[in-house]
């Protein structure tokens, strides 16, 4: 017996409306949505910056710290998540990888990563000489 009676969008009128609106008017999400719907397991990420750091935030629900691999090579940040699950006789695996090109002013030795509630936050500090500086007039 299945747990859920039937799962269609009529149960949840908001979600279908949202999906249509998002799809039509938000070009930002179009590509990621396309990949999600075609079954490819990609993950979403955001990039922010302030004067001192660049921040990369990625959604990785259900992934454990040990299954994450973060590499920085020539200002390209690569995040790889891999998970193998064993349940009885069946084994399932999940692998997702994304590469982000950042500016070349990152100090690789100072990069920090934190993982909390399925959100990965990578902090990439900028080089001293690239930070904005106030110039005093003599």
């Amino acid at each position: 017996m299945t747990l859920i009676k039937y799962d269609n969008y009529y149960n949840d009128p908001f979600s279908e409306l949202d999906r249509l609106l998002e799809f039509s008017f938000n070009p930002r999400n179009r590509l990621t949505r396309f990949f999600q719907e075609t079954g490819s397991r990609d993950f979403r990420l955001d990039i922010y910056a302030d004067d001192d750091n660049t921040y990369v935030i990625a959604e990785l629900p259900g992934i454990q710290k040990k299954d994450l691999d973060i590499q920085l090579h020539n200002s390209v940040l690569t995040i790889t998540a891999e998970r193998k699950q064993k349940k009885g006789d069946t084994e399932s695996s999940f692998r997702a990888k994304r590469e982000v090109t950042l500016s070349d002013d990152v100090r690789p030795e100072k990069v920090e990563a934190r993982f909390e509630d399925g959100l990965l936050k990578v902090t990439l500090p900028k080089r001293e000489e690239r930070k904005p500086k106030a110039i005093t007039i003599n």
């Binding site: 039937y6 979600s15 999906r19 990420l45 959604e59 629900p61 454990q64 399925g118």
Partner: protein, 124 residues
Amino acid sequence: MDTQITKETPAKAAKEQRYLRPRYEVDTSQDEYFVRVYLPGVKKEAVDITLDNDDLLILGHRSSVVQDGWKTIYRELPDADYRLKLQLNVHIDGSRIGAKVEDGILTVTLPVAEEAKPRQISVN
């Protein structure tokens, strides 16, 4: 005049609230069902689970990690909260529902109610 304004505001706020439907999986054991809902960025305290007869409603409020002064460079993550409404086919024992949040996944344990369990009938 005053009463009119107070009446209008909550209705308007509810309309503007947008939700995102999270991905979920259902798993089963002998007499329990497990619903795993993907809620990245939602803390344990921010999850709200309601069972109303056969309707299971899960709301997850996303707490923002973005701090003041951060400039957006590229965005894909939505800001909407999560909302998932499932109509259950099986009668669930509401008093024994369990839930836990781990690494952005909410696992709801739904024990099948006594009266819905299969029963062996012996012929006399």
